[in-house]
């Protein structure tokens, strides 16, 4: 993506969000699922690519994200083999850029220039996080799972701030390397929904 204007950038992100809300990520084709490494969880030094929208598959650069704009959904991609790890929905993440001053210490430690990453899978019953908007209680924008109204604050390590979700979203440490957003470590916390009893 070659330095799009702000206007174009904004449109791209909004489009990505709209698609996320309704259609979410395209399901992986069988061939992609079969590629070795496609169902491995994100690995250190993986790059992140847009999961949907006009730029699906393109590497996300830090300047693609702006404070105050909604999250984008992303897949990790092995830069050596070019395998996009979309063999399991447990690999998909949301990334959002926040004001670094608002982040708590744990979150800041895993962020890159205010950009934070979390598993897209809601810890309640496994729906994807699909919305970004004002919290049910409070003024700040939060990550929302609209299946049963769970909300997670991305500034505080995605802790649950509303709804039935039992625990925070798993966090994905991020870094910036060679001008791209990259994965700095494996997921912190359990990816996926609760299981009963």
């Amino acid at each position: 993506m070659s330095s799009p204007s702000d206007q174009t950038r904004r449109t791209i992100i909004l489009t990505a969000l709209a698609t996320a809300v309704h259609a979410a990520a395209p399901r992986p084709a069988a061939a992609e699922e079969d590629q070795p490494g496609s169902d491995l969880r994100p690995q250190k030094a993986d790059v992140l690519v847009f999961a949907e929208g006009d730029h699906a598959g393109e590497v996300i650069k830090p300047q693609d994200l702006k404070v105050g704009e909604p999250f984008v959904r992303a897949w990790p991609k092995d830069p050596k083999t070019s395998v996009v790890r979309k063999g399991s929905r447990l690999n998909e993440v949301v990334v959002v850029k926040l004001d670094p001053a608002e982040l708590d210490d744990d979150t800041r430690a895993r962020s890159a220039d205010g950009i934070v990453g979390y598993s897209v899978i809601c810890t309640h019953a496994g729906c994807p996080i699909t919305a970004w908007g004002k919290a049910a209680q409070g003024e700040k924008d939060v990550l929302k799972c609209v299946c049963h109204n769970s909300e997670f604050d991305p500034r505080q390590n995605a802790q649950v701030v509303f709804g039935p979700a039992p625990r925070r979203l798993a966090a994905l440490p991020l870094a910036i390397a060679d001008g791209s957003l990259t994965v700095a470590g494996t997921f912190v916390g359990k990816v996926g929904a609760q299981q009963g009893g």
Partner: protein, 576 residues
């Protein structure tokens, strides 16, 4: 070995060989379930979803009645250890109780003491997307029981041990296919219906051989090319048109006809799927042997409101206008209380009226029973449309009950809720929500001036009159109703965690008990060794929780969001 070491090692050995007191199982005495027993269940048992094939949710037991219900106390309780919506009726067969919980667990208990015999825990896949994490019960046949799972399998268990006997994949959960209902058992067939209308599926009802899990027939609720009814769809819309069938059907053994409710059309805005859209929002009359559709009745055409009419109508002999006829009664999600007549080759409209406020219908065509829509309140693409009642309807899946003693129908209704959304066209991606709107755009609005929300209503289907109602000023009512010959009506469903008994004739509140969580489960009545019990699961979640969250965030209501989760089986008896 010192004495202490010896004591310790013998303690360890005994805990390994004989688990301390926790399990009584396997079950030694178990009464096989036969076709005759399901057709004419003993008064003390609850072996089908609504106890009897007619779906009335009525128990002939009257030891607990209007004069002694005030003395009802807990006899025993059992923590399931599971969170989320516990919606299943405790199923009871001659002193053995089977409880199904969310996340695909089944617990076998001594119905008299609450002692655990065995527990089955399904290992659900990590990547499962459970939009409705719940289960509505297990079906019984011979010495087996049957569980339908959210990862879209039907599993047969040995009733005595809980061992898996067969496990059949129904469809692929990764495509948004899942199951939450209690299987209907008819003459050795295990019959289930698909959930997944929110994912753009094509719904169906499917039957398996109870012995080996082999598929016997599968009937799609949306007719394919060349099948009658396909002409009510445009182009290829039928392939993804919804019509899921996620509630247990009822059955008329005399005519060998299953009545199965069919859900909403997909995606929601009706202008995305022009036509009447058979058989969405309908009741199908099916042949249990072949799955053939004998006839149907469509409650409303071209559904645009997410008004799933999945609850099967109750089979009731109705006395009306000087005659008695074999009726079908259905308080619809679309706000209309339906009285229909079931005939061998047709289902005829008799009467219908709104039982909660609605601005969608201007009336019903008297000949056909087609409701007349007000287009101002019909969702379309590209525009915000509001409508009453909300998309949870006048009554969602929680069941109404009928008492042949009072001849009243008891409806867990919700009044004064409206909703709305903006229709938006989006591409279908299998396994992802496909609603035709942004999920976060779905509104629940309280009507201005509302004095209450939940209403337990008693209707006389013979006269069309509301006989009584009990209103809940600070809560929705989201739980199934059970009636008994003791002239009692039991229901939970409110956000204050109460379980209540009402006088069936007058609506007087006779008894209430606070429970651990909120009750979205179905109460049952049963008897062991001459004592009558009332049982229900308390465990809040799913849509009751969603409505609660929406209510809480509406400042004008000022409710607190304080319904804790976690399932407990409660069993009550009269204090001696």
């Amino acid at each position: 070995m010192t004495m202490k070491q010896w004591l310790l090692s013998s303690f360890v050995a005994s805990t390994c060989l004989f688990p301390i007191g926790a399990f009584a199982g396997p079950i030694e005495k178990y009464t096989p379930v036969t076709a005759d027993r399901l057709k004419n269940p003993e008064p003390g048992n609850w072996m089908l979803y609504r106890r009897t094939y007619d779906g009335q949710g009525y128990s002939p037991l009257d030891q607990i009645n209007t004069s002694n219900v005030k003395d009802l106390v807990p006899a025993w309780t059992f923590s399931t250890g599971v969170v989320e919506g516990h919606e299943a009726p405790p199923i009871v067969n001659n002193g053995v109780m089977f409880v199904a919980t969310p996340m695909g667990q089944v617990i076998a208990l001594n119905a008299k003491t609450g002692e655990e015999y065995w527990r089955y825990k399904r290992q659900l896949p990590d990547d499962l997307f459970q939009l409705h994490p719940t289960n509505r019960g297990v079906g019984l046949w011979q010495d087996k029981l049957y569980l339908a799972t959210t990862d879209d399998h039907v599993v047969a268990l040995d009733a005595k041990t809980g061992k898996v006997l067969w496990d059949t994949k129904v469809q692929d959960y990764k495509k948004g296919q899942y199951l939450t209902l209690m299987p209907l058992i008819v003459d050795g067939k295990v019959i289930v219906g698909a959930a997944g209308g929110e994912f753009g599926v094509r719904g169906y009802v499917v039957a398996y051989d109870a012995n080996d899990g082999k598929e016997l027939w599968r009937t799609f609720t949306i007719p394919g090319k060349g099948e009658p009814g396909n002409e009510t769809w445009s182009g290829d819309d039928w392939k993804t048109g919804g019509g899921s069938a996620w509630m247990t059907g009822n059955y008329d053994p005399d005519t060998r006809t299953i009545y199965w409710g069919v859900g909403n059309a997909a995606p929601w805005p009706g202008d995305t799927h022009p036509g009447d859209n058979l058989y969405t929002t309908s009741v199908l009359a099916l042949d249990p042997d072949s799955g053939k559709i004998k006839t149907y009745f469509q409650y409303h055409q071209n559904d645009s409101w997410d008004w799933d009419e999945v609850e099967a109508p109750m089979l009731v002999d109705v006395q009306r206008d000087g005659r008695i006829f074999k009726g079908l009664i259905h308080p619809g999600r679309n706000a209309i209380f339906w009285v229909l007549e079931r005939k061998p080759d047709s289902i005829k409209y008799v009467a219908g009226w709104p039982y909660v406020y609605t601005d969608v219908w201007k009336g019903i065509e008297p000949e056909t029973g087609k409701p007349i829509v007000d287009p101002a309140h019909k969702p379309v693409m590209g525009k915000r449309v509001d409508f009453c009642p909300s998309l949870w309807g006048g009554k969602d899946w929680p069941s109404a009950a009928y008492s042949p003693k009072t001849r009243f129908v008891y409806v867990p209704a919700n009044e004064n809720f409206c909703g709305g959304f903006t229709g938006e066209k989006v591409p279908l991606v299998p396994g992802q929500l496909w609603l035709g709107t942004k999920p976060e755009d779905i509104g629940l609005k309280v009507r201005s001036g509302a004095t209450h929300f939940g209403e337990l209503q008693a209707w006389d289907p013979g006269t069309g009159k509301k006989v009584w109602s009990h209103n809940f000023p600070r809560s929705q009512l989201f739980g199934s109703v059970t009636a008994t010959a003791g002239d009692l009506v039991f229901v939970g469903g409110t956000n204050d965690r109460m379980f209540r008994a009402f006088h069936a004739k007058t609506g007087e509140l006779l008894w209430e008990q606070k429970t651990n969580s909120g009750i979205v489960g179905m109460p049952v009545a049963y008897e062991v060794d001459g004592t009558q019990y009332i049982a229900v699961q308390s465990g809040w979640g799913v849509d009751a929780q969603r409505i609660q969250d929406s209510l809480v965030t509406q400042n004008n209501v000022g409710l607190e969001n304080n319904v804790p989760q976690g399932g407990v089986v409660w069993v009550f008896a009269v204090k001696k």
